[in-house]
């Protein structure tokens, strides 16, 4: 065996070509150099991050804390926070990619500075990241943190599986990050349509990166869905029957049901594509009986429910925000529940509207067009319910509320353009143009992203014990809202002018003014991202004056506010008994809040487990091995996963006991702190005077 054989066995098809600057060294044209500088800069950030972060952790000696209190923790609250950290990191990358794409199109009259391949990678990673590694982890993180607290549970039903789900999602995200250094990622768009992504047209590693990143995250998400659904069905505290759950729990339940049913089609589609590429199957190839329509149907059988999967939890956040900051019971609770359920069910009947133009009969298109329009009805119901929740309430314009208001106004516009697109005859004119891009950003940014950010501001004080800086929060919110409008409203115009989506360059001067305005919007969105980072920095520095240990900074209505901030690991010293929909609001009104329990008992909690990390690393290794044809690594990763699962099943004593004394001491310390602080009026809500104890409302 020669050295090169050995290297080939060891490294598969990995070679110097994979480095982002290699082609520019080989062929130093101006365009190649520009693209290489951008790509190398991005890769450099990843490498620097991968070197600096461990150094910082070592410098502060935090490895043990990181390992034992975070990475191996199975506490739903910590897992939730880790999900959101992942989402924010990936959000930063995807926003920067968006700004690059807007810049390219602003300078794209007759050329621009990015190569078509570079541009294609950008829109593929931007879409894939925003859906799979920003929106999904963000909502999963919020649900993880909040739902067990809202239903009075101690943890998820399957805490270790929760950690494994996080591990799989992180492994997928890691793979997308690695693809910046060892190029190239897929150029096939976030939907990865074959036959373009088949071996015949795309023999490189790109589609394989995409396939395995998405597959890892989709398997993790299926497990998350099972975990959430079982938790919500089985772990509710006494008295919380389904119609006493906060609306966020309802949306979490519907989202998890969608996860359970809609993730398998994605897994099937990506694995079939993998079979085509690796083992010469013929599902979606052009020859030997393959049929791309099977892929398109499978993908959107996942893809459309996915849209509601990412928007429903945001609807839940808005429901909590409107109710809390209007100091009113949620208006039309039952109609909101039924509307949520209706959306979840109808979401499975509309997938065909993603490909009206792909050859089915007009009658079939009509059926799916009408089904699509039907979704507007329950969504409209929700908008009215939220507006009526504010009606005659004592509305406070805090940051979450500002996001919610921006959402209501902007989302309606996005919904209306959705109604336009639902009509197959109109769809034929504007499909595959920027009109579509404008539409789905118009629903996903105000819908999902604003909702997630509202939830982040709303529950941050609960998770960390201090409020986020209000001023920078407002600046960020204004930049997001205005930036979004400037960036995407011109795209409606461009779409109507006939500019196709994913266009790297164009020769029509009439497009130019629109693309320039859109670039300005993208710049503002970048400012919004920067403001969020500054806000976090400022808030951490000023944390002492914004402490809310008493746990109720917003005069909250539901159970999560009835604990300290941050809550103890076991959430509640004694499981609450609930007899109302807004249990904490009722308890405060009747003076039953903040009371010591009659008797404390030992609490059983799950022990930490390294399973999540093992499966994260093994899963990422397996996927990386498959991408680069390092078969030994792929087999090794698979064996580690199987071995770890079997070994885990032989471990007994997976729980530990928190003594009744510790529970009581912790609870009494908190009650004492509550007794010591002055209640804050709602006028002082945003002042340092707000210590997390609300003045009894008149």
């Amino acid at each position: 065996m020669t050295i090169s054989d050995l290297l080939h066995l060891l490294l598969g098809r990995l070679s110097w070509d994979a480095l982002p600057f290699w082609s520019a060294i080989q062929d130093p044209t101006l365009s190649n150099i520009v693209n290489a500088v951008i790509a190398t800069g991005a890769a450099g950030l990843v490498v620097i991050g991968a070197i600096v972060l461990p150094l910082i952790i070592t410098w502060y000696g935090k490895w043990r804390v990181l390992w034992s209190e975070w990475l191996t923790s199975v506490d739903h609250k910590r897992i939730g926070i880790m999900y959101i950290v992942l989402a924010l990191v990936m959000l930063s990358r995807a926003v920067i990619e968006a700004v690059l794409m807007r810049s390219q199109q602003a300078f794209g009259l007759g050329g621009g500075f990015l190569s078509p391949e570079h541009f294609s990678q950008l829109f593929t990673t931007h879409g894939s990241i925003m859906i799979f590694f920003m929106a999904m982890p963000f909502l999963t993180g919020l649900i993880n943190y909040v739902v067990p607290l809202q239903i009075g549970a101690r943890d998820m039903s399957f805490p270790v599986m929760n950690s494994i789900s996080l591990g799989l999602t992180a492994a997928g995200a890691g793979l997308v990050m690695i693809s910046l250094v060892l190029e190239k990622f897929s150029t096939g768009g976030w939907s990865g349509y074959p036959p373009y992504t088949e071996m015949a047209f795309n023999p490189g590693v790109g589609p394989d990166y995409w396939i395995w990143a998405v597959t890892l995250s989709s398997i993790g998400t299926t497990m998350t869905g099972i975990n959430f659904a079982v938790t919500i069905y089985k772990e509710r505290a006494p008295g919380i029957h389904l119609f006493r759950m906060p609306l966020f729990c309802w949306t979490a339940l519907c989202t998890s049901i969608i996860m359970i049913f809609a993730m398998p089609p994605l897994t099937v589609a990506t694995l079939m594509l993998a079979l085509d590429r690796y083992l010469d199957f013929h599902f979606f190839t052009n020859d030997l009986g393959g049929n791309l329509m099977n892929y398109v149907n499978l993908f959107w059988l996942f893809g459309h429910p996915e849209v509601y999967l990412v928007v429903l939890p945001a609807f839940g956040v808005y429901s909590e925000v409107f109710s809390t900051f209007s100091a009113k019971r949620l208006y039309g609770y039952k109609s909101l529940v039924y509307a949520t359920m209706a959306i979840a069910v109808i979401s499975f009947t509309v997938w065909l509207h993603h490909f009206f133009t792909m050859g089915q009969s007009a009658n079939i298109n009509a059926v799916f067009g009408i089904a699509t329009m039907l979704i507007g009805i329950p969504t409209g119901v929700k908008i009215y319910d939220w507006m009526l929740t504010m009606f005659r309430g004592r509305v406070r314009f805090t940051v979450p509320m500002l996001y919610a208001l921006a959402f209501v106004m902007l989302f309606v516009i996005g919904g209306l353009t959705g109604m336009i697109l639902a009509n197959p005859t109109i769809d034929y004119q504007v499909h595959n143009t920027l009109f579509l891009v404008a539409h789905f950003h118009n629903v996903l940014i105000p819908g999902t992203l604003f909702g997630m950010l509202a939830g982040y501001h709303f529950w941050f004080p609960k998770a960390f014990g201090f409020r986020l800086d209000e001023r920078w929060g407002r600046i960020a919110c204004a930049c997001w809202a205005v930036g979004f409008m400037l960036a995407f409203f011109p795209l409606y115009g461009l779409g109507l002018l006939g500019m196709p989506r994913r266009t790297v360059a164009y020769f029509e001067p009439a497009y130019l003014p629109f693309t320039l305005v859109a670039l300005a919007g993208a710049g503002l969105v970048l400012c919004a991202l920067g403001s969020l980072i500054v806000q976090l920095w400022v808030s951490i520095r000023k944390r002492e004056e914004n402490r809310v240990y008493a746990g109720d900074p917003w005069n909250g209505r539901t159970l999560e506010w009835a604990t300290s901030a941050p809550p103890p690991e076991w959430n509640f010293p004694v499981l609450p008994e609930v007899s109302d929909r807004d249990p904490f609001a009722v308890a405060k009104e009747s003076g039953r809040a903040y009371q010591a329990a009659g008797g404390y008992e030992d609490i059983t909690l799950p022990r930490n487990s390294a399973m999540g990390m093992i499966i994260c690393i093994a899963g990422a290794s397996m996927a990386f091995g498959l991408v680069w044809y390092m078969w030994w690594l792929a087999i090794f990763g698979a064996l580690v996963i199987i071995g770890a699962v079997i070994a885990r099943s032989f471990i007994r004593g997976t729980t530990r006991i928190i003594s009744a004394r510790e529970v009581e001491e912790t609870h009494r310390r908190w009650l004492q702190a509550v007794a010591d602080v002055r209640p804050a009026s709602r006028d002082d809500e945003l002042e340092p005077a707000n210590h997390g104890l609300a003045e009894a409302s008149a």
Partner: protein, 208 residues
């Protein structure tokens, strides 16, 4: 039946197993939910198979490839293994000697392995006739659906073996009980999927 006794439907442990019976409430429900998700996966593979029935690209179709005798034998073996697993469940529920449980688990495992042997034999025969998955879209769909079931049976067989070791190591304690309950659901689920495969792939394929 009291509410306690019928905590979760189908295979259960009964109130005699107080702690395990309670623990099963959550984990068995969770497993049912997982099976629903897995069923969606199989449903999609079935749908793909049916859609691609005609995509033989001039290659062999169901009539030329399938052998009703072999498929019938496989069906008989797998259905019998479901019965023997049922006997294992009864041995567990009525707290007989662990050896009886082990015996029925072993019989089920052996039947599962025989099934896999027959299946692999069939696949090899198909490959020898140049009817592997690369031949046509139809065969790709076949080799997605049927071996996925086979992979599930393989996983189930490993699971049975692991549980037999756990019965030896830990005795029949609460985690072992609830795991055998879930394993039972999994095994019967695979049986049901196979009935679908036998009907849709083999019977319908040969009757066309």
């Amino acid at each position: 039946m009291s509410a306690e006794a019928r905590k979760h439907p189908g295979i259960n442990l009964g109130t005699a197993h107080a702690e395990a019976h309670d623990a099963a409430e959550v984990v068995v429900f969770g497993f049912w939910v997982f099976l629903m998700s897995d069923l969606v996966l199989f449903g999609l593979l079935f749908a793909t198979y049916v859609v691609m029935l005609g995509a033989t690209a001039g290659g062999p179709g169901p009539k030329e490839l399938f052998d009703i005798k072999s498929a019938g034998t496989e069906t008989f073996i797998l259905l019998t293994s479901s019965f023997t697993f049922g006997m294992a469940s009864l041995a567990l529920k009525y707290g007989r000697h662990p050896l009886r449980l082990q015996f029925w688990l072993a019989v089920t495992l052996i039947l599962g392995l025989i099934f896999l042997g027959f299946e692999i034999h069939d696949f090899i025969a198909m490959f020898e006739r140049n009817a592997g998955p690369s031949r046509s879209g139809f065969l790709s769909a076949f080799f997605a659906l049927v071996p996925t079931h086979g992979l599930h049976v393989t996983a189930g067989s490993i699971w049975i073996a692991v549980m037999m070791v756990q019965v030896v190591v830990f005795g029949v304690d609460t985690p072992v009980k609830t795991r055998i309950l879930r394993l039972g659901l999994f095994w019967h689920f695979l049986d049901i999927v196979w009935v679908g495969i036998f009907s849709v792939v083999y019977l319908a394929g040969l009757a066309r």
